[in-house]
Symmetry: D2
Subunit: 339 residues, 4 copies
């Protein structure tokens, strides 16, 4: 029997727990070795449920397990870059949730650590693994839409985030935590780089989030290096559902990705026809989260580079930084490559 990739998962909140489950059950080429979480009880509980032996309070402790070949980082945003440095120093390959870091200095330090250690790093832009987005990209690459002209993307979360989520200070503002997915798609699907952005934001319906440097909704205009333009919208409390939709508009055709419906059922009465709407990223992108890990594991085992690189993480972060600068300064801002 071929060797499996031993994986340790750092951070088992909602997202990390899903990754741990996928690795444990659905990725035949991998073996879930250990779980670490600053909330060690949670680490222990997930380890028990998944029937694995090792749980730890920290990445450093977990790295003591010799069977660990790779680390999956799904801590809050703030701790990503440092965890990358630690894991890299220990010689482990890394799959890190987005964003790579919350500022460019941290990001570069993390990438340097990865380079220096000679390990590999994949960033968790899982939408690239979604079958609908993948089929869109295939057709873009096949030239079916001609030249790309306009990129549009919408990302709306369903529920009002608890105020505690802002108070904890461990996650980035909306551009780093949500819109960064769209910033990555903006590069990937258009096969071009964003050179300048302009943001408007609002806290009108929830002014109290302003004190945490965050916003409720944003629209970010995009200007590309080779002439295309775009816009990305984020809204963190849409109430009606989890709504992620993207349009790649070209000179010969266009592609729309996304749908509002959760289940294929329509309820019809004198007051109209009603659908149940998608409500969560873990259901909408269940296949993508799995495919992402399967691909990472496969590439690591077979000595291939990861598909979504640390460089991709840096580029998307640069756009997010520019979007935040535009929000803060009230004018359009250039995306500073390595700036």
């Amino acid at each position: 029997m071929v060797a499996k990739l031993g994986v340790g998962v750092l951070g088992v909140g909602e997202m990390g727990r899903r990754h741990a489950e996928n690795i444990r059950r659905l990725v035949p080429e991998s073996r879930l070795v250990a779980i670490a979480d600053a909330a060690v009880d949670r680490a222990h509980q997930v380890a028990t449920e998944l029937e694995i032996d090792h749980s730890f309070r920290s990445l450093e402790q977990m790295l003591g397990c010799k069977e660990i070949d790779a680390v999956l980082i799904s801590t809050p945003d703030k701790f990503h870059s440092e965890a990358i440095e630690v894991a890299a120093a220990a010689g482990k390959d890394i799959l890190c949730e987005k964003p790579l870091a919350l500022n460019l200095a941290d990001a570069r330090r993390a990438l340097d650590a990865v380079a220096k250690a000679g390990v590999r790093l994949q960033i968790g832009f899982m939408r690239r693994y979604d079958p609908a987005y993948e089929s869109a990209m295939s057709r873009v690459e096949a030239g079916e839409i001609g030249d790309p002209v306009v990129f549009k993307s919408v990302g709306r979360d369903k529920d009002v985030p608890p105020l505690a989520a802002y108070q904890s200070g461990v996650n980035g503002m909306v551009f780093y935590n949500n819109t960064i997915h769209d910033f990555d798609l903006a590069r990937w699907l258009m096969r071009d780089e964003v050179s300048e952005v302009h943001s408007y934001t609002t806290v009108a319906i929830r002014p109290e989030v302003a004190q945490y440097g965050d916003v409720v909704a944003s629209v970010v205009n995009l200007k590309y290096e080779h002439g295309a333009i775009g816009n990305v919208e984020s809204y963190v409390q849409a109430i009606y559902g989890y709504d992620v939709r993207t349009e790649i508009v070209g000179s010969k055709g266009s592609i729309f990705v996304g749908s509002l419906e959760k289940t294929p059922a329509t309820f019809l009465s004198a007051s109209g026809g009603t659908h149940i709407l998608a409500d969560h990223f873990l259901s909408r992108f269940a296949d993508a989260y799995l495919a992402e890990v399967v691909d990472f594991v496969h590439n690591m085992l077979h000595d291939r580079p990861p598909w979504v690189t640390g460089e991709d993480g840096l580029r998307a972060l640069e756009i997010a930084v520019a979007a935040e600068n535009s929000h803060t300064r009230g004018k359009s801002c250039q995306v500073m490559a390595n700036g």
Copy 2:
């Protein structure tokens, strides 16, 4: 740690293999103990891939494994009822793929064996576990559509079945192998019994299947005991996709279940807007197949009766038999309860 339900899977063709994978990886309360298949090489290969120790050539051999508490039967249709008798005689609980049997005599003998042995039997009408169908049923039960008036269902498979599938003679004709799902829904969603049916069938585009007693497409009119009516259509080679849709039409409202789209992506060009269509039951009903086994395992472990019973299997079979009789005799036929 709580005991798990030890399961042996009999038959690992396309369907049984999925069941085996689900039990192995995704049903924490169960343990996949062994696999049996008349094609023993296939049994061995699946066992290897799923990393379990035991594979066998027959149910009888597999029943030698003491850790087996329950048997999942996913052989060709023809062998269902006998396998139920054997598993029951061995004191095992059973989850058997549809149909229960290919004739009423076999079906009753299987149910008698189950009753005599005091074991439990669930029939694989997995659509009842599909989130869309479940939400439909919740609303029917909540009275949202008033009295049910008309039941409609369509089941179309994508690809032309290979002639070998007919020649093997191990599966029932379309009413037993495909339409039986709709016959079950016809009872379940309308909460009433079908009392009479009328069938038209066709082999026009593939006359060679007639010699095997099968047809290419069928429409079956339904008459219910309490006044409702309905129609069920099946077509085994629709080419464009796997298309399962159901309508429950009531006095106050209606519910439609089903959708043609596989992925939420639309490709737009001067020639129109195009969707990728659903193509296979294993993807359309992936969640349902898993939920079915999770529920079976849970009920067995906790000494509860199964949800979809042998009686349900018999009732749907009675409708299929009446539909075949109508096809053969050219007139409407009564559904003979225990007839």
Copy 3:
């Protein structure tokens, strides 16, 4: 200026009034000369609103207007065939609403009168003029779906018909008044003749309509001369909307016609996404009703035969008669061509 076709409209209920409006305003090649209605006040009122000079109590009176070249008959069903006979005897071309008649004897007498008088007769199967149905037919004729295998059609009206509509006794039961549209589509789109039918019907949710020989819902299985099969459903009080949908299922592809949505607006809230549904044939088929009259007028003016003939009216009626016979006799019935 080219001469226009002078048209008299007989019967200005909801349907006839729409025809009169279309002829008056939207059919440049025609001139609305007069209106007749047994309810002479209504005839007068519509004439006033449409600013034309002549209104009459009867067809006979209206035929005194020399400028009338053609008569559009939109009385209740019961009076269609006799009006055809009278108009034909007066040498007028005729556009008659469906059904041609309520029984085969009347239908044949009407067709004989038309033949004897050497006038032309078009039957109001307006769905053939609907852009969606037309595009479907173009593709069927282009061979895009291969051989037709299954025909499916649903016709549901929104509101509960008033009991007075049954008591008046002037319209045919559901097969003649509603399903006859689907019977016409069944012939036209499949390019084949229906040879046998089987009906189930229900009055369960409104037993009082039974005394008028009518039903609330029906499903009619169809058998075609060349091997295809089909099913047509009608339901006269669906509550949620006006729902007309048709599927032509072929050996290489299929075509679906119809949509539930009235306006392209979706209302999204925590309880789901809701559409406004189509509610009436005059809005769903507004374009078709107009195109039908435009085509009739054009053909009459330019000495061409009508597109949808009296023969088409007879064939659809024969299927309706067989469907009623099946309903009455409880068994499948052959469609008697000229029988």
Copy 4:
């Protein structure tokens, strides 16, 4: 019989011709008196087809017809404001196509002329009369979406505009000719004023339009006075269809208006399911164009103010001017009310 509003139509290109047809045939309270067009042959031809007596080479000539109570202006954009001045001076009420003018000075001069003459002016923002947009607005007003947070709108034309359209120099660039509809919706549906905008534009796929001061596509970020934000995109050669969609995103719910499908027909084959797409504003908004004129005529006849006012025309124009300034200057620009 009640008097009718005598209307003269100025400009019978594609748009004006539709208005003339509607007035002639479908607006019972109005009478089409005359048609004027600088292309006098075209004026004459349309008059002949619509069977009216008078056609003229200029507005001044047409105003000689005493039966004219109101003038409908549908010339190229450049001539709107001057035509308003002339018609106002003659004491006629006015329905003028968008935009009110191509710059703010002209717009104010036109509004001054209207005020001085004591006539009434309606601007042709016909989307407000579209049933889908109307139902959206009703629900916004009913508070169903709570506070408005984000406004999104897309307007894409199907075909590549001929270069001659740019060379003629008689129409405004995209912000004045296309996006102005969205700027009006942005104010109307959000019930708030836009205070600042930021534009990115592109000519990448057709650089030759730059010399005419125009662009191929644009994205305009919007900032509202009371805290909401938005984005509007225009693209003049989408190829796949005529695509107008709007989202009003609120604190409790959202409303989406628009659909890509032209006819409710789906063509299914092994390569997927395909829809025919909307292709032209005259079909998509046919009902709205008619309702607009019906409402204008009714208000004029009954001495009521028009619904969509000159002030509305000015406000939308101010946003367009700011959008163009942002495009030219490369930074966000304030919307200068009367600025």
